[in-house]
Structure formats: C-alpha cells, structure tokens
Amino acid sequence: MVLPSSGKDPYGTPDRGGFTGWVDWSVDAGLGAGRQWLEGDVRAFAQSVTLDAPGSLRVGGTAQLSGSIVQPEGVSAGTRVVPPRYPMSVDWGGSSSLAVGSGKQAVEEARRKGKVAIHDPLTRTLTALRRGSVTVTVANDSMRAYTGADSLAPVTASRTITVG
C-alpha cells in the first residue's frame, strides 16, 4: 500500500490517489488474512468542499450525489480539485432523517426507522424513502494554520433535499 503525500505536491492525477492527506489504520486482531483484518481510513486534506444534490426528489426516486474538494498548498490557498470518492474515504452524514449504508438490509432498516432517505456511500446514490426533508453533509479534514482548537474543525458542505 502506498500512502498519500502529507505536504509535498503529490504525483499522479487527483482522481487516482494524487492528493494530500493521511491514513488512519485499524487492525482487527480477531480476523484472519482472508477477511477484512485491516482497514484504512484515507483522510484527504481540504480547504473547501462542494456537494451537488437536487433540491427535491420524489418518493422512490434516486439521485447521484457528486462534488469536489479543493486542497490547500501546505496551509495556504491551493487549487487541486479532487473528487470525493475512492481511494479517498468520504465522511457522509446529515440530519437524523438520513440513513447512510449499502445493501438491501440497510434500506429495510432505514424504512423501519422512518428515515426520509438513505445514502449509499459505495455508489454515492441517494434514495428517497418517504416524504419529508433530509440534509446530507460531507466532511473532510482541513489543513490550515493552527490558531486554536477551532482551526482543527473539519470542512463541511451540506444540501437539504425535500422529498415529496
């Protein structure tokens, strides 16, 4: 496995791992080599994040979410635009009416809990489940000059979607 650059200009193209960041590894000692014993949370640095989503969806409708992050140059303003998808780990979240998960079981559980929509982070597809309002948020680690605890806060972007 190859780590991203944490400061120098990366090599390669941004959509194929050419971005700055760091990796938070987790090891599960209980799992053997044939299972997912090792997980890498690939944290890209961002100075700004955009999230594109429709303003409204019909119940049962789906939307492919997209967006980008712009990366800083060191802690100064930069211009590298990176899509928020593999090999970057993307931190999806949102309002309590949103479920995040993949697969049939996750959809069924979201319905049972009365969620308005479910977002599949693998396909970046939002599926509307019932009428209501739902907010989707994407968050990235920042990289800016340290001026106190606030400067460590992640950079986020949110969209609110009305399901009718």
Binding site: V2, L3, P10, G12, W25, A29, L38, P87
Partner: protein
C-alpha cells in the same frame, strides 16, 4: 488523536520550537519513524548515510509488537534495503519466523519509506532492486499462505494513495 502524541514535524537540522504544537513533551502515544531518502541527505545535502537520523532516533530498523500486530520497520533511505542496512533483512526473516509460531501475533505490518511498487506508470519511486522487492513479496506471501495470518506492506515516497495486492498481501 495525533494531538495526544509526542510527534512533531520540524525543519531539518532544527529543534522543536518551545510552543510547538503538539507539545512533544506531553506525548502519551509513542512515535516511530522510518527514514526516507531525505533523512540520508544531511543538512545542505552533505551526506548519503543515516548518521544524523541514527544519532537522534537510534537504529533505523526495528520490530515491536502492539496488541497482536507485529510491526517491522525498515530503512530504505538509499533506495534499497540491502544497500541501506543489510542486517535488517535477516532481522525481518527472523521476525516473520517467530511470528509464525507465536500465537500472540495475529498479523504483520511492514513499513518502509520506499514502496515495493510505485503505482505510477513511470515506476520511478519504489524499491530500486527488483530482486529485493520480489524477495520481500515472497517472504510476506509465504508467511500469509503458511499461517493464515494477515500481512501487509506500507510505503510512501511515490505520493499516490494506492492499494494493490500480491497473492492477498496488500
């Protein structure tokens, strides 16, 4: 949290500032460094060995165990493992042999600055001796296949976030 650790990045040849963040004296999480090519250059590019690094951090290759994972940290600063410090290869061989038999070791992670394979088409930022790279791959795939315990290598240098597997070893 990295802010709880005693780690800091400082310019080459300088001591940490008194108000360095995080405070290197307050660390509770130990930091281990593997030396890269820049650690062999010295201040103003006057060296091609690890004298300065070794003076600060001790032997530049080592192993330790943490919660069932055996870590093998290697020094690839001069572009190859054998060229940087030959003794680390029998160290790695012994660490893997012991890990095979030791039920308290569940998996092995190998870290070096140079990756085994550069994901870029130019292949310019990887272990330079390809026989040696094949040896590392064989040691780790044999370990995985012979024990069912996980093994993986982690490198940097090529500056592209990437994962690929050789016979189940990332």
């Amino acid at each position: 949290m990295l802010t709880d650790a005693g780690c800091d990045l400082i310019p080459v040849g300088q001591e940490p500032a008194a108000d360095s963040t995080p405070d290197p004296a307050a660390g509770s999480v130990p930091c281990y460094y593997v030396p890269g090519n820049h650690e062999s250059y010295g201040l103003n590019n006057v060296r091609s060995d690890l004298t300065d690094f070794t003076g600060e951090f001790g032997q530049p290759y080592r192993t330790f165990d943490h919660k069932g994972t055996r870590f093998i940290l290697l020094a690839s600063s001069l572009g190859s493992l054998r060229g940087t410090a030959w003794d680390q290869l029998p160290m790695m061989q012994q660490a893997l042999a012991d890990a095979r038999k030791d039920p308290s070791v569940h998996n092995v992670l190998v870290f070096a600055h140079h990756p085994v394979d550069d994901p870029a088409e130019t292949r310019s930022s990887q272990l330079g001796d390809r026989d040696e790279a094949a040896l590392v791959e064989k040691m780790l795939t044999d370990f995985r296949n012979g024990t069912g315990k996980g093994a993986a290598t982690v490198g940097s240098h090529a500056q592209i976030a990437d994962v690929h597997r050789v016979e189940g070893v990332p």
